[in-house]
Symmetry: C3
Subunit: 302 residues, 3 copies
């Protein structure tokens, strides 16, 4: 396993192996070992063709903490503007002796296509509405830390299921790990053919979706990708699908609430709930750092 492109690559053994590294790095870091040399002499190149703060920063900082040389390459300040193909950009980065290429691209399948063509380890940091495997891993690790298991948990995923790479990766990984998955959103944001996604329940009713769940994962409404006409119905979305205190009470008593961020406050959830006592949102960010460290380590140990 040279690359991490899709959660489809992750079986239970691989999940356990990466989780093992995750726990090791988190433990070492929390015990004051904030500089590590496991990637000393490695280079991490980060071509990001879409904007990002948390994912790019997390991968970059994880590399730096481990001693790697990291290089940012943004879509806007690069040869991309000169019309270079993605393939040529990545071949060029490989020729610069890149050990890791962490790529974000608007096109589904982009990371997969380039991974086959280079010897560098390629990590998919998001390819269009397709996959975001490091997010799914950090979500699963965060749940595991809180619940002690994933097998048998009842998990609801709420929002724009169809167009979300987070939803797609979370559903597949958590299902593989034995969770019962309920997806919920407006009709226009739901999969038509449930069997494609292999989830357990699909509903347009959020109250049904949240009832007796252990975990509720809210997805970001990607306002920046929507047409302006959508904005007139934001308030309606908030009323129909946004989290409020009453809806929290539908969950199990010890349920946790997650969101990949950034949250649209007042849309996906009421503002005061974002960092409320049930929320794991900041833990997700923190675990993202150690998850990325674990992914780097796992890939070089193969």
């Amino acid at each position: 396993m040279k690359d991490l492109i899709s959660v489809n690559q992750i079986n239970r053994q691989i999940f356990e192996d990466i989780f093992h590294f995750f726990k090791e790095y988190k433990n070492r870091y929390k015990n004051g070992e904030t500089k590590i040399s496991d990637l000393r002499g490695y280079s991490v190149l980060l071509p990001f063709f879409e904007e990002s703060t948390r994912t790019r920063t997390s991968f970059e900082l994880a590399g730096k903490i481990m001693g790697a040389d990291t290089i940012n390459i943004s879509g806007s300040s690069s040869s991309i503007k000169k019309g270079e193909t993605l393939y040529d950009t990545i071949k060029t980065l490989e020729a610069m002796q890149s050990d890791f290429i962490v790529i974000r691209h608007s096109m589904a399948g982009a990371a997969h296509i380039v991974a086959k063509e280079v010897k560098s380890h390629v990590i998919n940091a998001g390819d269009g509405a397709h996959e975001h495997p490091s997010q799914a891993l950090l979500d699963a690790f965060t749940i595991l830390e809180h619940k002690g298991k994933i097998e048998g948990l009842k998990i609801a995923i709420i929002g724009d299921i169809l167009h979300s790479r987070v939803a797609r990766s979370d559903m597949k990984l958590l299902k593989m790990l034995g969770a019962e998955i309920t997806v919920c959103g407006p009709q226009t944001m739901l999969p038509r053919h449930m069997e494609v996604f292999d989830v357990d329940y699909v509903t347009t009713n959020i109250d049904d979706a949240l009832k007796d769940k252990d975990v509720a994962i809210f997805l970001r409404i990607q306002l920046e990708r929507q047409k302006k006409v959508f904005f007139s119905t934001l308030n309606e979305y908030s009323i129909k699908y946004g989290l409020n205190q009453k809806r929290i009470d539908l969950l199990k008593e010890d349920a946790v609430i997650m969101h990949p961020g950034p949250v649209n406050r007042g849309v996906e959830m009421q503002s005061e709930l974002v960092y409320g006592e049930r929320s794991l949102i900041l833990e997700q960010v923190e675990n993202g750092l150690f998850t990325r460290m674990a992914i780097y380590r796992f890939l070089i140990e193969q």
Copy 2:
């Protein structure tokens, strides 16, 4: 003192402590110790929501020289564009285990607001027209190196007093250190209520302002923030408030000239004076590097 947000936090003891570190680092660097490990294992995250060359580069390089892992986050290539609140951005950076958050933002008070909410050390690298404390420190250190003291010096600050964060921070810090402060600019750029700023003299006449001063600090006319109508009077500004050789002769014989940069040549001063024998402008830049190193060190020693 977890954060450096305002020069109001700096009393004489704190000023001496930071100056002590400043001299130590400058001395070590000048003696060839150009790589230091005092921040090894620390992370410095630099969210800059306004453009900057010298301040950002200075903080970034200072961190790197000291062995920190540094991460740039620009307002244009980040989640900010996705509408994330400043508060959420900073909480996210904290969750990534940031030791330092060096923030520049167009809103007065931005750094103060976030500092209260995070455990990371927050350094204000400029918040709107409000404060720029590291600039005030480097200005004071530069004066101190040349004059041996600040107490009793006669210092003129010339330009857009009202809208300048450098003016605001310089006035307060230098006044606290015992200087006599004269401010000078066009009527529209002067404080109406002198007592708010606690300066000694206010004048619209530059010749009065410069007469017998030890130090003259010229402020940048922020052309990029002005409407186009302002440009027609640039020449007039230069004639009325720009530094020329005749005006230098009004200063004390051993007076020094400063400017936070970048200079609008021919506006705030005649081009040939920018790096003239009285000018400390490049020393300010150099001292900026060691000042930022000293600030990092001071904050972790608290």
Copy 3:
């Protein structure tokens, strides 16, 4: 020799010295020594006023591998937007104790002008249509690795000769090293006064140009700098000056094909030839990394 501004500075001895370091670094890196401390305690500042992926990444990564602290400064996010002069920007970087300033600028002569004014080592990473000396060195080293010599080789350079800094630097360096240079392109892209460029042959006929050559260097058509009207003749350019299999057969049997990248596939050459068996394009990129390491080393040893 404090700076590398032009290939005019490079005589045979200097060429051999830099090549010596190039081979040393390439050899050490290939033997697993991927982290070196030769630039530990040095700072490399990279003000790039024009966009770049490969050149900037190559210089930045080369610096990092050698242990330097590197800082990117882009024309768009810096004081340049505030109207600062190039001279003041560079004086400011020098005042920050920069050891190296690697500059790309749209103005011919920019690097030369600033190099005289600062103590930092200045490296010209491309100044308008003027010079790109590190590209010429990596091209020459790549040829030398494959052919064992440059003296006496027949080299064709194809494309927009007049406006290409790569062409200008390649021609001069390879000619100095004893190659026979043929340049070829549309009449409007050719030098009027051949003696200025000191090349051996000038032709508008690509078949004449390629015949019996050891090396063919294709230049990038800079579509992004052209007006839209040019696009209607792209296909014509491809037919008249693009490389195809038939034209490859005109070259010597063991000839090699080069391009500074990024290639406009289907314009300068047929897509399937870009990484074909004769192509050294990816080797050029790889050698670029070790060439930049060698340049840094050469300049600090002076």
